[in-house]
């Protein structure tokens, strides 16, 4: 397909979109002014509509495809949530609009803070982090602020399991910590002996997600909490997997001191081809003073902002305004739609779907990473056997699935399981859809045995065949140039 630049014509434009020319001439010194024109497309409105509509058709999406993408919680995000968050008045509200004309939005933010705190079993929540990773940063920064505030300056390490998501260690480093990798036990639980050996006065904290990215619930969690706390460290909960346990168990009760949530996984924001998300942080009582600002509070006059004046120990501001307010609205609306019982069911059915799929795939001949364990909302199969015997690896399975109209599961993550697929069906998919997926997986197994080339050369039916990533990185072409 052509690039928008390649359908551009000099002096064409979508005329009604620009304001009228002004007659005022710009009184700006010459040396501060632009002199050249950028190579932007010059196209008509129909061309724009057609081009981007056509582009959209070259995507998989939840609206068109099943997406069993582990760790990503690709579930149906209600259209009603999106539409209401896009209400004209909400879109038009300036972030610095006076509180007198903002009570509607502020009340939603306030109520969401309360609801999330109670869902997580935490004392307070700040909504400002703009994605999971920024939530992690905020969380670890609070751990740091806590230790420093107590004059406990020797704590320089954060522990992360080897199965942790890449953002965990990256966030810890951004907070000035050294990261130590904690190995996982053969049963998928934390290896308590290794943990005991690794904690000490240098330990600022540990970052965990439970259920972990291995798709199992760490049964030793209370013990882990005890060990880390006794060593003076704090526990960080990566809430990316909250969908698994919504209404079933609360991170605060497990012993965690701080948590971030991914509103774009669990709370109804579609992924938008990469974002935006929102990563609120919740904390136990002792970390409350350090929460990032702004937050919303309520007094006799109504709802108002909490800023650094109200929160002198805050780790500070993480964005120009209050983070991804529109995503906050979506989460609020989603919570109100599902309510107590609806949220409770999310974890149940996400878990039911995952366990069903796991059992069926095992019956179909796939190898589970943790056959002894229950699946949480996700589980792992390993294709190590197929890779070795048939020369068909996890990536080949993934690409071939695309030909069947199913998005590939997460591949090669967590890193410790060779040739793995991390599969998360979510609660919004029907049994028929799962059964269809199982049938396809069985067909793939058959192809792997009989026509392995079909997999190795997949995909066959997409707009492009397998892409040359090496060339992309070697001969960097990141910007279209005229005459290309």
């Amino acid at each position: 397909m052509k690039l928008i630049f390649e359908i551009s014509q000099r002096h064409r434009h979508a005329a009604v979109q620009a304001p009228r020319p002004t007659d005022i001439s710009l009184d700006i010194p010459k040396e501060l002014r632009r002199t050249s024109e950028p190579q932007w497309p010059e196209v008509s409105e129909l061309q724009v509509v057609r081009h981007y509509t056509q582009l959209s058709l070259r995507n998989f999406s939840i609206d068109t495809n099943f997406y069993p993408l582990g760790s990503c919680t690709m579930k149906y995000n209600p259209r009603g949530v999106h539409k209401l968050a896009m209400t004209r008045e909400f879109l038009q509200r300036h972030p610095l609009a006076p509180v007198e004309q903002s009570q509607g939005f502020l009340s939603c933010a306030y109520d969401l803070q309360q609801m999330l705190a109670s869902i997580c079993g935490m004392a307070a929540v700040s909504l400002t982090p703009m994605a999971g990773a920024q939530g992690e940063f905020a969380g670890v920064a609070m751990i740091r602020a806590y230790h420093q505030d107590r004059g406990d300056h020797g704590r320089t390490e954060i522990l992360c399991p080897d199965a942790a998501h890449g953002t965990n260690p990256a966030s810890a480093v951004m907070c000035g910590y050294t990261v130590k990798e904690l190995p996982t036990g053969a049963d998928g639980n934390t290896d308590l002996e290794r943990l005991k050996a690794m904690v000490g006065p240098q330990t600022a904290g540990i970052m965990l997600t439970n259920p972990s990215t291995l798709g199992v619930f760490d049964q030793n969690i209370k013990e882990v909490a005890r060990i880390v706390h006794e060593a003076g460290g704090l526990l960080y909960y990566d809430g990316a997997n909250l969908n698994a346990i919504l209404g079933k168990v609360r991170p605060g009760d497990m012993g965690f001191d701080v948590i971030h949530l991914n509103l774009h996984k669990t709370f109804a924001t579609p992924h938008g081809g990469g974002g935006p998300g929102s990563g609120p942080v919740g904390v136990s009582q002792r970390l409350k003073p350090y929460l990032p600002i702004p937050m919303v509070t309520r007094d006799e006059q109504g709802y108002r902002w909490l800023t650094e004046q109200d929160c002198p120990k805050t780790i500070g501001r993480l964005s120009t305004f209050m983070g991804n307010a529109g995503i906050v609205l979506r989460a609020y609306i989603y919570c109100r739609l599902l309510g107590k019982d609806g949220l409770h069911r999310v974890g149940e059915f996400a878990t039911l779907n995952a366990n069903y799929l796991m059992v069926k795939l095992q019956q179909a001949g796939f190898t589970l990473a943790y056959p002894q364990r229950r699946a949480s909302h996700e589980f792992i199969i390993t294709l190590a056997k197929q890779a070795k015997n048939l020369g068909v690896n996890a990536m080949d399975f993934a690409k071939r699935l695309l030909d069947y109209g199913v998005h590939a599961p997460t591949t090669y993550f967590p890193l410790l399981i060779p040739e793995c697929l991390l599969i998360e069906p979510t609660e919004t998919e029907s049994k028929e859809e799962l059964d269809r997926f199982i049938d396809i997986m069985i067909a793939l197994l058959d192809e792997a045995q009989n026509t392995p080339e079909t997999l190795k050369n997949a995909p066959h039916s997409l707009p492009v065949r397998r892409l040359d990533d090496v060339k992309a990185a070697r001969e960097l072409n990141l910007t279209w140039q005229p005459g290309e």
Binding site: H82, E100, K222, R336, A408, E427, L476
Partner: protein, 457 residues
Amino acid sequence: MPYIPHTEHDIQTMLETIGVTGIQELFDEIPKALRIESLEGIPEGLGEMDVSRLMLEKAAQDRRGVCFIGAGAYEHHIPAAVWDIASRGEFMTAYTPYQAEASQGTLQLLYEYQTMMAHLLSMDVSNASLYDGASALAEAVLMAVRANRHSHSKRILVLGSLHPHYLQTVQSIVRAQQIEIEVIPFSAQQGTVDPATLAAYDQQDITALVIPQPNFFGGLEAVDALTQWAHAHKALTIAVVNPVAMAVLKEPGQWGDSGADIACGEGQPLGIPLSSGGPYFGFITCKQEYVRQMPGRIIGCTVDSNGKRGFSLTLQAREQHIRRSKATSNICTNQGLAVTAATIFMSLIGFDGLKKVAENCYANTHRLESLLTQISGVERLFTGPYFHEVALRLPCKVEPVLQQLLAADIQGGIDISPYYDSLKQENALLVCATETKTDADLVYFAEQLKRALHSTV
């Protein structure tokens, strides 16, 4: 069950397949003591109809008159087609394009976005977005520290005329990494930084200099001289710019002799609604030589196994999912959909249109300034050229005046005195009039301000 498709029959069949008697059993690995039976503190669920009504009631509380607030977020016309297309399920409900073959739509769009941003700023390369303007600057600072091989100080100079929230955000984010942020005071008369002030740092090891253009007060900094100073002192130049202003102001790639090294900013003015501050998107661009220090996702053009053009995420070795603790940033989820909208916006408005937007913003704010300063006691706080925002001095405290304007359905700007010690006594009001304001709006504002001052002073 809301959004859950399972029938009783499905559930039974599935449980039997798994070999358990009830859903509860699936949670049997969770220690009993930890399990809860229900969620407290959450109200009962409502139907979509009831929630719609609730939200419209809340929205009605946020109804507002004419908005003259800028300060980092700007009301612009957004063509209807922008969000109509961006909201298509295929864009909105797609995941991050890790499976390139199933994501050519998003990937090509992002490649087009990168191109438009790079060209707009006359920089070599752009990434595919960061969170927002302030956090993009924080990333730019971290990037500069990694990229500047000549400097070992981790000392960053920042013009004092930078948006105060940007400064605070940078501080929160880089604090733990032993990076020192030094703020250069702005001239009390001009509201911009006199390049001569930098002489004080001539002998020091400076890693980077942060230059906002236009600055927080709408004023225009001497970008050439500042860039020259930085480069002469082996510091990198980080530009923080408003993308709409780039239609008329010299773009970072042209600053000084060799251009800024990194240019970043807030993408909101490019088709993103105000929406209480987000989701917006941060943009970041740089010279080719620094691309491996860039944070965030980058899309590259490549070929498929048939030699056909295609697009994929590239330089992933910079990113957390590959490099983990050694990544250039922890960012993962970014602002994809906002960038989708911005790309459609830029295509629709074109550069010619963007220029008209910028010129109208300029014209409206200048006309507003002239109307307001005709009111006795109202005057400009600073001299010198400005773009689409201007700081005024009122003859009395700003807050009560704003309250009175509110009653006339005017959001009359923001009180910036609290942000600066030097302005504490100044009754400083920052106002902005974009292309969305009519002349009648401006005149009405002037009338109401006059009236408000009359009753307040």
